[in-house]
C-alpha cells in the first residue's frame, strides 16, 4: 500500500536514527530471548545483556531525539511530518496492518524517557535483586517489559499498540508475581493482569470501532480523519472513544479500576518504580495523548459551554480519591502507589480539559521523580529496614545515615508536591492553569485541592520515614553506630536473609566508623542522584514561568489538532456557527446536543480547521498563587501535625489539632492529648479525622468493600454461574437430552427382548401371523 512510498519519500530527509528507530524496541526484544536461552550461563546471569540492550536503545533514542530536534528546527513554522515506516505484518482482503514505527515528538519523548528510566532501573536492580533465585528471569521480564512499552510508544497502528500494551500486561504479571511462592504475591499478579484485561475489552472493541469508522488502523490516518471530521456519526465516535478510554482506566489505574495498583506493590521495588514511572501505568495516558483527536472530537472536549467530560471527570475523581487513600497507608510503597494513581489522574484531567502539552509534560517529569521516590523506598528497605516497607514499624530517623537517599527523596518529594522551580511545578501548574483557563472551573478546584493533599501526604510519609525516632529494623540499622559493624550481620541473620546479609556485611566493614554515611551501594545511589537531578532539571525543558516553551514546540505536531489561534474568536465563531446551523436546520439542532455540535462542525467545514485545541495559557504568578499557597499550607499543616502527633512536639499545630479534635470528638482536650501522647496507632485516626475522615474512610471502604468485592464477586459469581450452568444445564438438560435418547433406545430394546426367544416355532408363528394379518389387510383394502 502507501507505506513503501512514504518511506522512500522520507528517505533523504530524516536522519539515520529517526529512520532506524524501530530498533529501539527490537533490541530489548531480542535481548529477552538471549537472556531466556543463554542468560543463566553468562557471568552476570543475563543482567549484562539486559543492561547493554537498554543502553543501546537509549543511545539510539537520544540520537533520534537530536535528529528530531533538528527536524523541528529546520521545518520552521510548517507542520512537522512524523517519520513513519511500516512493513506488512499481515493482510486480509483490503485490511492490511504493518509493523514499524511512527516517530514524532510524543514518541521521541516517551522513547527517551522509557529507555533512560529502564537503564537506570536495570542498573539499580543488579544490586537490589542480587542473589535472587530467579535473577535471570527477573532481567528477562524487565527487558521484555521495556520492549513492550517501547513497541507501544512507537506503534504506527493500533495493532502494534495492542501488542506492546498486552506484552506489558504479561510482564507485569510475571514481575508482580516474581515471588510466587507466596500466595498473596501470585494473587496480586493475577489481579493486576485480570483488572487490566477487563479494561482491555474496551481496547479491542474500541479498535474494532475505529476500523469500522475510519477504515484504517493507522494512527496517523485515524488522527487525521478524526481531526478533519471524516466520520459518519458523532455518536459512534463517542462510543469508540469511551471504549478506548475504559482500557485506559484499567491500564492507568484510574478510578474505579485502580485497585490493582497498590496490590501490585507485591513485586520487587525496581519493578514498582519502572511500572509506576514511565511504563505500564502511563500507557493509558499515552494512548489518550496518542489518539487525542479521537478523544477530543469524540468527547467534544473544549466544546462551547462544556463544563466537564468523561476523561476530566474520571481524572478528577481519581486525583481526590487516590490522594485521600494515600493518607491512611503505612506501607511506604503504597503511599507512593496511591500518589502515582493521583498523579495519573492529573494527567488524565489535563487531557480532559484540553491541556495536552501539560499532561504530556507531566508524564515526562513525573517519571523522573516518581521513579526516584520508588528507588529511594527500595534503597531504604534494602539497606535500612530489612525488606520491610512499613513506615511506622521499621523506619524513622534514618536521614542521618542515608544522605544520598534522603537528598534524592526530598528533591523528588518537592517535585511531586509542586514546589516552585522543580519539575513537577512546571508541569502540574500548567494542567491546573489550563483547567481554569478553558472554563473547567470544577477541575481547577479539584486540581488545587489535589495539590494541597499531595503536599500533605508526602510530608507525612517523609516525616515517618526519615525523621522521628528510629523504630523496628531501622532502629537496628541506626544501632550500628553504637555497637559495631558486627551487629549488622546479626540483624540479617535473624531475618534469615543470608543473601543480602552477606552483602551488607561487606559494606559495613568497608566504611569508616562511626559517623560516616551508611548509604546503599553505588549501583543503587547512582540512579538516585541522576534522577534527583532530573526531578528538578527536567522541568526547565518547558517552564512557562520562565517563558520556556521548548518541549511544547517539539511535541506540538503530535497533538493531531491545531491550536486555536485566538481562543476567544474561535469560541465566538463556533457559537455563531452553531446558531447559524440551528437557524438553518431546526430539526437537526432539536434532536440532541451531540447532533447539534456535529451540525455545527459540518456547518463550519469551510473554516479551516474544524477542530482545534486551545493554546496553553500564559503563565502568571498571580494565577499560580492559590495553588502554591495551598501546597505550602498542606506541607506546613502536615508537618506540624506530624511533629505534633508523631514527634510528640509542642507547636502551634498541636493546639490547633487539639481544638479541632475537641470540637469534633466528644472527649475533650485532655483525653485527646493523652491519646496523642502514647498511642502511635491513633496517629492515623487523628490525621484522618482532621483532614479527610469521611472522605478517605468512605473511599477506602468503597475501595475495599464495593469495588474490590465487586471484582471478587464478579469472579465468584462467574464461578458460581459456571458451576450452576455446568451442573444444571450442561449436565442435566443438554447432556441429559443426549443420554435420554440413548436410554430410550436401550429401554425399547429391553421391552422387545422377549420376542427374540430363539425358538423356531415362535418365530414361525410370528412370521405366519404377520403374513396372515398382512394378507387380511391386503384383502380388505382391495375389496
Amino acid at each position: 500500500m502507501l507505506f513503501a512510498a512514504e518511506t522512500a519519500e522520507l528517505g533523504h530527509s530524516a536522519g539515520w536514527f529517526l529512520e532506524q528507530a524501530y530498533l529501539i524496541p527490537l533490541i530489548p526484544a531480542i535481548a529477552f530471548f538471549i537472556i531466556i536461552f543463554v542468560g543463566k550461563r553468562l557471568p552476570w546471569g543475563g543482567s549484562e545483556v539486559g543492561l547493554i540492550s537498554m543502553v543501546s536503545s537509549l543511545v539510539i533514542a537520544v540520537g533520534a531525539a537530536m535528529q528530531w530536534i533538528d527536524r523541528v528546527n529546520a521545518g520552521h513554522g510548517e507542520e512537522i511530518e512524523p517519520v513513519i515506516r511500516q512493513w506488512t505484518w499481515w493482510q486480509s482482503g483490503l485490511v492490511e496492518f504493518g509493523v514499524g514505527q511512527h516517530i514524532d515528538g510524543l514518541a521521541i519523548m516517551a522513547l527517551v524517557l522509557v529507555t533512560f528510566i529502564s537503564t537506570l532501573v536495570q542498573l539499580y536492580s543488579t544490586e537490589y535483586v542480587k542473589g535472587d533465585r530467579r535473577y535471570t528471569h527477573f532481567f528477562a521480564s524487565l527487558t521484555l517489559f521495556s520492549a513492550g512499552m517501547l513497541a507501544m510508544v512507537l506503534a504506527p497502528n493500533m495493532v502494534q499498540l495492542i501488542l506492546g500494551w498486552e506484552i506489558m500486561g504479561l510482564c507485569s504479571f510475571l514481575l508482580i508475581g516474581h515471588w510466587w511462592e507466596e500466595r498473596a504475591n501470585s494473587e496480586a499478579a493475577l489481579k493486576a493482569f485480570w483488572t487490566v484485561r477487563v479494561g482491555d475489552m474496551g481496547l479491542l472493541i474500541g479498535t474494532a470501532m475505529l476500523l469500522g469508522i475510519f477504515g484504517t488502523l493507522d494512527i496517523k490516518g485515524i488522527n487525521a480523519a478524526a481531526a478533519a471530521g471524516e466520520f459518519d456519526s458523532q455518536r459512534t465516535l463517542m462510543l469508540a472513544a469511551i471504549a478506548l478510554f475504559i482500557a485506559c482506566i484499567g491500564k492507568s489505574g484510574q478510578f474505579p479500576l485502580h485497585t490493582w495498583l497498590p496490590d501490585a506493590m507485591a513485586g520487587p521495588t525496581p519493578v514498582s518504580s519502572l511500572l509506576h514511572s514511565s511504563t505500564m501505568v502511563v500507557a493509558g495516558v499515552f494512548l489518550v495523548a496518542r489518539l487525542y483527536p479521537v478523544f477530543h472530537v469524540g468527547l467534544e472536549i473544549n466544546a462551547v459551554g462544556q463544563s466537564f467530560n468523561l476523561i476530566a471527570l474520571i481524572g478528577g475523581i481519581t486525583i481526590l480519591v487516590a490522594a485521600a487513600l494515600a493518607f491512611v497507608q503505612n506501607d511506604i510503597k503504597k503511599v507512593l502507589a496511591y500518589s502515582t494513581v493521583s498523579q495519573l489522574g492529573y494527567m488524565m484531567m489535563g487531557l480532559g480539559v484540553g491541556a495536552w502539552t501539560g499532561a504530556v509534560f507531566h508524564i515526562f517529569t513525573h517519571a523522573f521523580f516518581k521513579c526516584c521516590l520508588f528507588l529511594c523506598a527500595g534503597s531504604i528497605s534494602h539497606t535500612a529496614s530489612h525488606h520491610s516497607f512499613d513506615m511506622k514499624k521499621d523506619m524513622g530517623g534514618i536521614w542521618k545515615k542515608m544522605p544520598i537517599t534522603f537528598g534524592a527523596w526530598m528533591i523528588s518529594t518537592a517535585a511531586l508536591a509542586g514546589i516552585p522551580f522543580t519539575a513537577g511545578f512546571f508541569s502540574k501548574d500548567e494542567i491546573i492553569d489550563s483547567a481554569k483557563h478553558n472554563d473547567y472551573t470544577i477541575f481547577y478546584f479539584v486540581g488545587i485541592i489535589g495539590a494541597f493533599m499531595t503536599a500533605a501526604y508526602m510530608t507525612r510519609a517523609t516525616y515517618l520515614t526519615f525523621f522521628g525516632q528510629p523504630r523496628g529494623a531501622a532502629a537496628h540499622f541506626m544501632g550500628v553506630e553504637d555497637h559495631s559493624a558486627h551487629h549488622a550481620g546479626d540483624v540479617h541473620a535473624i531475618d534469615d536473609h543470608d543473601d543480602h546479609g552477606h552483602d551488607d556485611h561487606e559494606i559495613a566493614h568497608g566504611r569508616p566508623f562511626p559517623f560516616a554515611p551508611f548509604d546503599s551501594g553505588w549501583r543503587i545511589t547512582a540512579p538516585l542522584i541522576v534522577l534527583g537531578v532530573l526531578a528538578v532539571g527536567a522541568g526547565y525543558l518547558n517552564a512557562p514561568a520562565l517563558d520556556i516553551h521548548w518541549f511544547e514546540h517539539q511535541t506540538e505536531s503530535s497533538i493531531g489538532l491545531p491550536f486555536a489561534e485566538h481562543e476567544e474568536e474561535v469560541t465566538e465563531e463556533a457559537a455563531a456557527v452553531t446558531e447559524l446551523a440551528a437557524g438553518a436546520d431546526g430539526t437537526v439542532a432539536a434532536e440532541d446536543s451531540g447532533d447539534e455540535e456535529h451540525a455545527a462542525e459540518e456547518g463550519g467545514e469551510h473554516a479551516d480547521p474544524i477542530y482545534s485545541v486551545p493554546e496553553p495559557p500564559k503563565f502568571s504568578w498571580s494565577a499560580a498563587a492559590p495553588g502554591l499557597i495551598l501546597v505550602a499550607l498542606g506541607g506546613l499543616i502536615s508537618l506540624g501535625l506530624s511533629l505534633a502527633v508523631f514527634g510528640k512536639r509542642k507547636n502551634p499545630f498541636s493546639m490547633f489539632v487539639g481544638l479541632t479534635e475537641r470540637n469534633k470528638v466528644a472527649g475533650g482536650i485532655h483525653n485527646f492529648l493523652v491519646n496523642k501522647l502514647y498511642l502511635d496507632h491513633l496517629y492515623e485516626n487523628i490525621i484522618v479525622r482532621w483532614v479527610a475522615h469521611p472522605l478517605s474512610r468512605a473511599a477506602y471502604w468503597v475501595n475495599q468493600n464495593v469495588i474490590d468485592t465487586t471484582v471478587d464477586g464478579v469472579g465468584k459469581a462467574g464461578k458460581n454461574t459456571g458451576d450452576w450452568v455446568y451442573r444444571n444445564i450442561d449436565q442435566r438438560v443438554v447432556d441429559g437430552a443426549v443420554n435420554a435418547s440413548g436410554v430410550a433406545a436401550s429401554e425399547s430394546g429391553h421391552a422387545l427382548q422377549p420376542i427374540q426367544s430363539g425358538k423356531v416355532n415362535q418365530y414361525g408363528a410370528l412370521l405366519f401371523g404377520a403374513a396372515a394379518v398382512a394378507a387380511i389387510v391386503l384383502i380388505i383394502t382391495n375389496v
Binding site: P754, I755, Q756, S757, G758, K759, V760, N761, G764, F768
Partner: protein
Amino acid sequence: MYAANFLVLAAALFCFGVFGVIARKNAVMVLMSIELILNSVNLNLVAFALMNSVAIDGHVFALFVIAIAAAEVGVGLAMVLMIYRNRRTIALDELSEMKG
C-alpha cells in the same frame, strides 16, 4: 376345471404345513411341514400356469421350487443329524441357546 378346487386344496395343505411348523417340536416334522407349505405353493403355481396356457413361467418356477426344496431338505436333515449326534435330541425347544 375350476381354479377354486386347486386353491382350496393348496390352502388346506398350507394350513397343515403352518400348523406343523408352529406346533411340532420334532425338527424332522417341522422340515416335513415346510415341504408341505412349499408344495402347496407349487400347486398354486402350476394351477395358475394351466389357466394361462401361453406362459410356462409357473411350471418353470415350480420346478425351481422343487429343486430348492430338495436342497433345503438335504441340508436340513444333515443339520438335524448333527444336532442329534451332539445333543441326543431333536426337540426344537430344547435347542434354544439365546438368553432371551
